[in-house]
Assembly symmetry: C2
Homo-oligomer: 131 residues x 2
DNA sequence: TTGCGTGCAAAGGTTTTGCATGGCA
DNA sequence: TGCCATGCAAAACCTTTGCACGCAA
């Protein structure tokens, strides 16, 4: 099984750049497109999806479920933590905390379920919105 | 702000029954419909969505994100635990464990984020699929 | 030159909306 | 009887697929 050839194209570079530059480190396809548009770059919707798929297969990018769509982010930013999604403001926050890993380990050992930290999202209400 | 009137209709009763009878306690809209069909009952797709929305607003039902769609389940079954979704077989499992509550409490106290246990789903691989 | 990548248009699947009719209280 | 609920059809969304053309190596 030979590795398939792969080209370093303009859209691929732009998508990587956009994800790397993003503040919140997770973006919807729509956000990626409008971000590029602001910079005067234009690429097709289909191309974005296909490049993101490819990056996901390679493990460079992670795909998350959001409300009515997916979010994408660079995988290396999210190896060892969970994400928190605030249901009030919709933001996706990161939490780096050894307790999280402890829970993963516990679930793995005692419940026979291997948790993928980087894909898991805790839902709730963030501090700002709780006020 | 007066409470809006609400009727106890056949579709509403059927949907509640179906969710209450379901083994896995979470169903997609499609599953609800085919389940009813097997019992010889027929209600419209739109009606299912609208009743589920209403039940969610009242807090009687919880809505979960799944791949390419939503799952619904009775809220009172899921007050105090997380869910695990196996990405291999797609099943939604329950986990009742004090460690989970401990993590929620920790995140709430130390990270200022109030976790909604019943809406949160941990992603990973279940024991059966890991073999 | 080769064959992967692109982008448009169209298809697919799920959820929502509009509107006339039906049914609960 | 007065509203709310229903269900069909159509629209709205997000994502995927088909296909001819473009471009990286």
């Amino acid at each position: 099984m030979a590795t398939r050839a792969s080209y370093n194209t303009r859209p691929l570079r732009l998508i990587r750049e956009t994800l790397a530059d993003s503040e919140h480190s997770h973006m919807t396809v729509e956000e990626i497109l409008s971000n590029l548009k602001e910079r005067g770059e234009k690429i097709g919707l289909t191309t974005v999806y296909r490049n993101l798929d490819k990056l996901c297969e390679q493990g460079e990018v992670k795909k998350y479920r959001g409300d009515g769509g997916y979010c994408f982010g660079l995988a290396d930013r999210c190896e060892h933590h969970f994400h928190l999604r605030c249901e009030s403001c919709g933001r996706l926050l990161h939490i780096e905390c050894e307790k999280v890993q402890q829970l993963s380990d516990h679930v793995s050992v005692h419940h026979g379920f291997r948790v993928d930290n980087s894909k898991t999202v805790l839902y709730g209400t963030c501090g700002d919105c709780a006020k």
